[in-house]
């Protein structure tokens, strides 16, 4: 019954039968943790209001039940807001396969960008780690310069960007050796 929780691991739309996933990356967990912390603080508002009202006034029982309903409605939309952020986090991902790089970004509901880049098109890769916490937790941005004049691929706030850079460069070298002249051997 719960097969869907296990069988879909790292399979994605348009995955080629001969393609193997090398890396699957979300943003660093700390990025999501910061947003969740913000929601936790917002979630404390009804509790603070409830305590403050209880200390300042003797709230009648009938009014108290209205307030409890209002708090429950607040938490319903708080729950939605929390999972909206989690959804946006989970739908921003980068996949490195042994043939290409896929950049999938969700900018909001029904607003999605998916781009892909053949490994042969990679020219150079640079890593940007800016700030104390990113340096401490080892996360940052990775920029892939392609053969096209202006096109760039950005991996945003990914964990261990230096290691990811090495893995992509290795995959690039293996791909170039296996596909001389950039001709796809699997059809």
């Amino acid at each position: 019954m719960f097969d869907f929780l296990t069988t879909t691991s790292y399979t994605f739309e348009d995955k080629k039968s001969y393609e193997n996933v090398i890396l699957f990356l979300y943003r660093h967990w700390f990025v999501l943790a910061l947003q969740i912390a913000g929601f936790v603080i917002i979630g404390l508002i009804p509790i603070v209001i409830s305590i403050a009202l209880g200390m300042l006034f003797a709230v009648p029982k009938d009014l108290n039940s209205v307030l409890h309903l209002a708090y429950a409605l607040f938490y319903l939309f708080w729950w939605f807001g929390l999972f909206y952020r989690i959804t946006m986090y989970l739908l921003d991902y980068w996949i490195v396969t042994d043939h290409r790089i896929i950049d999938s970004e969700q900018h909001g509901f029904f607003n999605r960008t998916v781009a892909e880049l053949n490994l042969a098109k990679i020219q150079d890769i640079s890593v940007h780690i800016i700030g104390v916490i990113p340096t401490w937790l080892d996360y940052g941005n990775l920029e892939v310069q392609t053969a096209a004049a202006t096109e760039k691929f950005f991996f945003k706030e990914i964990p261990h960007p230096q290691h990811v850079k090495d893995v992509i460069m290795d995959a690039h070298n293996v791909y170039i050796k296996a596909h001389p002249g950039d001709v796809e051997t699997h059809v």
Binding site: L5, T8, Y26, V66, A72, W79, F80, T87, L90
Partner: protein, 72 residues
């Protein structure tokens, strides 16, 4: 009509919530890759059901006429 206004408001709020919830669940299941989005969708769905049941129970226990007479 005015007598039914509170129940219309609550029903409207719940309908709006479930439309939004459906959109979240659709995105997680349709576009999510791997296990994490499916688990998140499941947790969100269960949490939403629990919160809706809590709201309905609180609504049923509510005595609006008594509340208004207390306030005014």
């Amino acid at each position: 009509m005015l007598d039914n206004l509170p129940i219309i408001i609550i029903a409207g709020v719940l309908v709006i919530f479930w439309v939004l919830a459906f959109i979240v669940l659709y995105h997680l299941v349709r576009f999510g890759v791997g296990r994490a989005p499916k688990i998140a969708a499941f947790v969100f769905f269960v949490g939403s059901l629990i919160l809706m049941v809590v709201i309905l129970i609180m609504w049923l226990r509510l005595d609006l006429a008594g509340t208004f007479s207390t306030i005014f």
